[in-house]
Structures are given as structure tokens and as C-alpha cells.
Symmetry: C2
Subunit: 462 residues, 2 copies
């Protein structure tokens, strides 16, 4: 777990010292003397992490950090600020500027290395997520232009696992007043881990000795080992004189720690910043999933597309075969749709297709698959449905389209629309989706020939 | 970096000892007495790692490991085998069964923990990749059913960074005879890192002291810090009495290590297994990218779809505006395509669309964007192209379609096909893709009205 670290300090001894320390642990270290130089190197070299002195001539550390966090190209690079002054206001200002941590000089090795390892791990995971996100953005699959972590909403659910009821109420008071979060309490590892997978908290605040006698570090470890809670934010609370514990917590996967007794504002800033970070990574994850879903969705109507329909019908068919049930297919084609486009324009045509999709979807069950195969052609796959029921559904669809004329957009005119529907059923092992679709297609052809606005059922003899 | 570990050993003392050790480091540990019990627990609990004794009654460790690696549900879980007998054949057999490492009892803590940390890190990354892969598989975006890592091809490029030319030739001899890999040599960190980003090796074999005086551990660190080589396999070669170095290498991100002097077969097995693993993770990564690409590709013709075309045209337009160049759009519509479908069937219609796409694509430049907008409607966006050149291209396309009749599939018949094309140009800042597309669409309408198989150029007055 190595990486490239930039050390920024205007005092030469500090630079040399930190560089030597980090190099011994096999990190690749670069140094910068001023904020300006730092910004330039970061833009060009994109290091994996920045150790940033607070007090420097001209551009101070706070300003450099803010500038880094505002630039989408560098916002994801972790920043650890360093200062000789241990003042809560300074720390809070640094965290609010977007720093990941705030260390005091002379920097304690144990905490430094634990923090560096922890941030490197996080960085590698983010890089992996960002890479995929960049691909889907390049392909135009979403417009989520690299948002600032700072702009994300910091609400969420926070679980408090403190060492006493007094401590817990003190935390609760602090957080209730200052944050927009829901709070849950846990008296120990068992209660905390008992949370159902569907509603795990976004963040945890955890002390070493929990009320039920269990060990807070073990709770961190268990949360990280469980897939549902692996991505949650975890803030470890420990005594000012026990930095070793804080380092262990970071190595076990805690996102951050705070030394007790703490300034209430500092706890809030840390929680808020972790909640935002959690949201950012959740967003990156869901962007990719959304991108993948777009490959199977018809953008105009929001229905599934042909690719997904054919895939899904195979699944329906296999399930039918194994359960010995029938499944039915409707093939639908809007009548004389070309005339709608020619007469009212493409916008009106699109609006008709959208309204048709809405009516079609609301005429079938949730388990039925509705897809647009292309142009004005649609299909519905009905699992566990015999021919008679399918014909009934088809007739209901036909009536819902024919029964009420469609609105012409930006106009009080209406557009008369009708649909022809072919129905077929799959019953045996030979009835692959392909075969049943062709049969429904054939029935659709008959419905069209019979004068349109008709349903037709595929019969073997036909 | 915690996780759930299953310890499998038939000797109670061994189980208790290992469980105590690992629990102290905050891992969640379960134990099993027999291979059968282990398989049951693994199926049910899906631990993050298995420590597996070799010699057990009935099902021995080799068999259990093979069974785990054959089952797609458990193949991704890392396995470390343990034995009291230090025999190369045993080690090779274990690695060939799919084990990630082979440790000797009594297990050395340093090596054990370094290996556990290393495998946990790898497991978390794989879990992340597998999750995304599972989504795209569920959506039917690819059929890459969870392949066995063991079935993947183990060819590739391997870079050798040894401590002397003698050592290097010895490795070369061993690998040349036994593996299907290309070998490159590096005399140290600088040469190894000099490799161009486009052709980085799949795997590296690295010793501590390199020929140019640089440190092999630093090379590992630098390889892991560089995005292009972050995913490469790295095997560290170190002396039998220097386990501490091996542990450092694993912590720095080496994929595996081997103790020198080694059995040539063992080196080969380890390289082969790392090459396969690298290919597996590459495959998982590219599956997601491929899945995302499918969201912008028309499955029938392989051309870009409407979603991508509109997005891409915006980019072309913005570039034109900033460079002060023109861009042109062709809108194309096959003439009387409905008759092709009606007369020859949908299969013939699809074949015509595919052949049309091929001819269209080969009539334009590589930088031109060709897309199928839906049905029989296509478009081409031509960056840095004025109206006259665009009209020339349109005429070339028209001729290439009209000039040679299309083949009817499974038949010697041909199908006459023609296309109508509308041409327009965007020149000013007001010419958004939307506007220019509408103009080309209008020109297309004129071409159709003029009797089809025509090109028509949009004129402001029209």
C-alpha cells in the first residue's frame, strides 16, 4: 500500500524530516516550499496525498486546501494539515476547508502512518470508482459532473455506541442541536450489529469500552467485515493520551477519530464531512449501476428495450418450464402511426408513444414485462398466464387506447390512436421466446389484416 | 482492514491457537474440524478468507481447496494452506489446487499477518468489482458467467528485475522452458518504471537488491503508486531466512513472494496463478465498461444509438464553435423500408439495415459519427466539414447504396434499396445540434418529396 505523497512546508528542516520518514516506509515523496508551488505540482503530478503545513507566507494551508477542494481535478486528493498550534478553532477551520485530518507538530509517527495508510486505502478505492464513473460520463450516460463533496447533503442516520449512558446523552445533545441527522443508540457490539441490512446507519460514533462490556475496536472490525456496513462512516472516540488506540482504529478501517474531551463543533464537523464523503462514494457507485441500467431502458418511454425483453423472456420461459406453467406474449403495434408523425410532427408522435407506454403499463400487472421493441412496436410478457387470460388483458389494453383519444401537445386537439395486438402462449419445452414471439407476431399480422384496432390469437392451424 | 476468517484444522490446539492469534488482531474467526464442516460453513457464511490445514481425515485440504475453487459461489474466497511438512511438491500441489499461499506450521506470525492483510485488501477490491459485474450480468449485458480463474489463459509479459545477470538468466531459462510468456529484463527501478504506459507488463518478478543499486521494495512501492501498473502482478523473491522482507513486500502491495533458492516449478506455478488472477480482474473491469458501452450502441447494427449521437453532436458543436469551424449533419432514411419488411420478412429487413450500416460507415471518415436514430433512420455528424463537402459525402453514400443491390439472406435474390439524405451545416453559435438536425430533417423531407433516392441540401429560405 504505497503511494505518492507531497509534503508542503516552508521550513526546510520540516520538509527534510518528513520526507526521510515517509521514504523509509517506501512512499514516493515530493516536496514544495510554498502554497503556489504545491498547487502547481498537484495539478501536474496528481499525488495520492498531500501533507500540508498551515502557516506559510502568502498562500496559507487553509487557502491551498480550499482551492484544491474546489477544483474537480484535485478535489478527491486527501489532505492532512499540520500545525504547531493545538487550537480547536484551527482544527475546525482546517476540517471545514476540506482537510481529512489535522496533525500536530512534531508529528507523532504512529498516528501519521496509520492515517497515511488509511487515506491511501480510501484513495485507491475512490480511484477505482471514479474511473468507472468517468467512463459512464464520457459515454454521456449521466450528467453528474464531478460534484464537490462539500456540496453534498450531510443528513443521515448516525449510530452512537458510547461507554456510558451519560456520555451517550452528551453526544446526543451535541448532535441533536447542530446536525440534521437521525440518532440511534447501541449499548454494544451485539446491538449495533443487529441492525437489519435494509436500514444500516450511514455513520457510527464508537468508543473503546462499550456499555455491554464489548470492545469498540472489535465493533469497528465487525462493521468492516460485513458487506452491508463496509461503506459506512466510522468515527472512533478515544482519550487524548491514547493515540495508539486511534492508530489501531484507523488500521481496522475507521474513517476518522476524535480525541476526547472534544469541542462539540469538532465532532460535528468530522461527522458532517464523513457523511458527505459516504454520500459521494454511494453516488459514484449508483452512477455506474444507473449507467448499466440505461443499456436496457428505452429512453423515450422509460420501458425496457428489446435487448432486455429478449433476455428476460428467456428467464420467464425457463421458470415456466420448470414450474409447468404457461406464459403468454402480446405483440402490439400502433395503427397507422406513420400518419401521426406525418400529420402532427415528430414531437406529437413521441408524445403519443409516451402516453401509449403509460396506458399499456397501467393495464398489466407488476410482474408482467412491458418493452418497446422499436418504433411503434411493443410487447408484453405475462408469466403464469394462459391464452384466455392473455386475450382478456389484450382486450383491456385495446380498449384503454381506443376508448380515450390522445392529447396533442400544446394544443386542445386530440389524436385518435388505436392498436393491433397479437396474442400467443408458450406451454411446452419447445416454445422458446423466439417461437412464441413469432407466433404473436403472426397473430398481430392477422389483426392488422382484419382491419386494425383488433386483437388476434395465434392458433396452431393459422 | 478486518474480516471474517475460517480456520480449518482437525487438531483442537491448532484451532484454538490460531483463533486466539487472529482474534487479538480483531479478525472475526470461526473454526471447523473437518473438510466437510468447512465446506458447509463456507457455503453458508461466505467468509473473507480460509486458513486450511492440509492433512485431515477423509477430505484433505487439497480436495477442499479444489472444491472451493470449482464452485463459482466460493471461487473468489482466498485460501491459505498450512502444513507441518516443508516439501516443494506439497507446496506446488496446494498452489495448483488454487491456494493463494502455503505456510508452514508452526505458523510465523509476521508472515501470517502480512499475508492475511494482503489477501483481505485484494478481497475487498474483488468484491467491489464483482458487485458491479453481477449487476451487468443481471441486466443481461454480458454472458460472462462467473468463470473459473483457473480456466483463464496464463500467457502475458513478465518483467524480471533480479540482483545479478546470472540470477536473471537462471530465471529466464526456467520461465522460457515452462511458461508461455514474453520476458523483459530490467536492471533496476529506473529501467522498470521507464516502460511506456501503453505496454506495461502483466507481471513482475523482483528481488531485493537490484543491479543498478536500487531497492526492490522501493520498486514495488513505485509500481503500486503508478496508476498504469497498480493492477500488475508482483512476485517478490527473497532469501529463506528473511521472512521479514517478504512480509514488507506483501504490505507494500506485492501479490506474492517466493523464498530463494526455489524449485523452478514453484516459481512457474506462482507466476501462472498470478497471471490468471490479473486477467480475471482485468476481465471484471472491462465487463463493466462493456456493459456501459452497450447503453450507447444499437444492438442490430453496432452503430451508436440516438442517445450517444445527440450527446456527441453537442461536443462536436462546442468544438466547432471554439475553433471557428463548420460542422455538417446528414439525416438518412431508407426509402420504402416498410415494404422490404412486408415483402421479405423482418429477418431480411434486419439484414438490409446491417448491410446499409456497413456501407454507410465505410463511406465516411473515422472521425465522423455514424448513428442509427431508430427504425430505418440514420445520421452522420461530420466535424470540420462545410456544406459542399458534406453534399459530396451524401452523394457518395447515396450511390454506394443504390449502385449495388442488397443480398437477401439465404437466397440468391437481391433486394433493391435506396436512401434519401438531407444535408445541413452548422456555422454559428446559434446552430445547436437540435437546430441543425431539424434542418437536415427538413431537407430529408424535401428529398423524399422529390421522389426519393435523392439528396437535398437545407437552404435558409426553404
Amino acid at each position: 500500500m504505497s503511494g505518492r505523497i507531497l509534503v508542503v512546508d516552508d521550513v526546510p528542516t520540516n520538509r527534510v524530516l518528513l520526507k526521510a520518514k515517509l521514504s523509509t516506509a517506501y512512499y514516493d515523496v515530493q516536496t514544495a516550499e510554498t502554497g503556489e508551488e504545491a498547487l502547481e505540482i498537484i495539478q501536474k503530478e496528481q499525488p495520492d496525498m498531500v501533507l500540508l503545513d498551515v502557516i506559510m507566507p502568502r498562500l496559507d494551508g487553509f487557502t491551498v486546501c480550499e482551492m484544491l477542494k474546489k477544483d474537480p481535478e484535485t478535489a478527491h486528493i486527501p489532505v492532512v494539515m499540520m500545525t504547531a498550534l493545538d487550537q480547536p478553532e484551527q482544527r475546525i477551520r482546517g476540517l471545514e476547508a476540506g482537510a481529512d485530518d489535522f496533525l500536530f507538530k512534531p508529528v507523532d509517527d504512529l498516528t501519521l502512518f496509520a492515517r497515511v495508510r488509511n487515506l491511501m486505502r480510501m484513495k485507491i478505492m475512490f480511484d477505482e470508482l471514479r474511473l468507472r464513473d468517468a467512463t459512464s460520463r464520457e459515454l454521456g450516460l449521466h450528467n453528474f459532473v464531478e460534484e464537490h463533496v462539500e456540496d453534498l447533503d450531510d443528513s443521515g442516520t448516525v449510530m452512537l455506541a458510547a461507554s456510558s449512558t451519560d456520555e451517550c446523552s452528551a453526544w446526543r445533545d451535541v448532535l441533536d442541536q447542530r446536525l440534521n441527522v437521525d440518532l440511534i443508540e447501541a449499548d454494544g457490539t451485539r446491538t449495533a450489529m443487529d441492525c437489519p441490512a435494509s436500514s444500516v446507519p450511514d455513520a457510527y460514533v464508537i468508543q473503546r469500552d462499550l456499555m455491554d462490556g464489548s470492545d469498540g475496536l472489535r465493533l469497528i472490525s465487525s462493521l468492516r467485515a460485513r458487506p452491508e456496513t463496509r461503506q459506512a462512516a466510522i468515527i472512533f472516540v478515544t482519550d487524548r493520551d491514547d493515540l495508539k488506540l486511534a492508530a489501531s482504529a484507523l488500521d481496522l478501517g475507521a474513517s476518522d477519530y476524535i480525541l476526547s474531551p472534544f469541542d462539540p463543533n469538532e465532532l460535528c464537523v468530522r461527522i458532517r464531512s464523513q457523511l458527505r464523503r459516504k454520500k459521494y462514494s454511494d453516488r459514484l457507485r449508483s452512477n455506474v449501476i444507473d449507467g448499466l441500467k440505461m443499456a436496457v431502458i428505452d429512453p423515450l418511454t422509460g420501458l425496457y428495450n428489446r435487448r432486455y425483453a429478449m433476455q428476460h423472456m428467456t428467464t420467464i420461459m425457463e421458470r415456466s418450464a420448470s414450474e409447468g406453467t404457461e406464459f403468454s406474449i402480446l405483440m402490439l403495434d400502433l395503427d397507422n402511426f406513420k400518419q401521426v408523425n406525418d400529420r402532427y410532427g415528430h414531437d406529437a408522435g413521441d408524445a403519443v408513444l409516451q402516453e401509449f407506454a403509460r396506458r399499456l403499463q397501467s393495464s398489466v400487472r407488476g410482474i408482467d414485462l412491458v418493452a418497446r421493441l422499436g418504433g411503434e412496436e411493443f410487447c408484453v410478457a405475462l408469466p403464469a398466464t394462459d391464452l384466455e387470460s392473455a386475450a382478456f388483458v389484450a382486450e383491456r389494453v385495446r380498449t384503454s387506447i381506443h376508448g380515450e383519444p390522445f392529447c396533442r401537445p400544446n394544443s386542445t386537439d386530440t389524436i385518435p390512436v388505436t392498436v393491433s395486438i397479437g396474442v400467443s402462449v408458450g406451454q411446452g419445452p419447445g416454445d422458446t421466446p423466439d417461437v412464441v414471439v413469432r407466433q404473436a407476431d403472426h397473430a398481430l399480422y392477422v389483426a392488422k389484416n382484419n382491419g386494425r384496432n383488433k386483437i388476434s390469437i395465434f392458433a396452431e392451424a393459422a
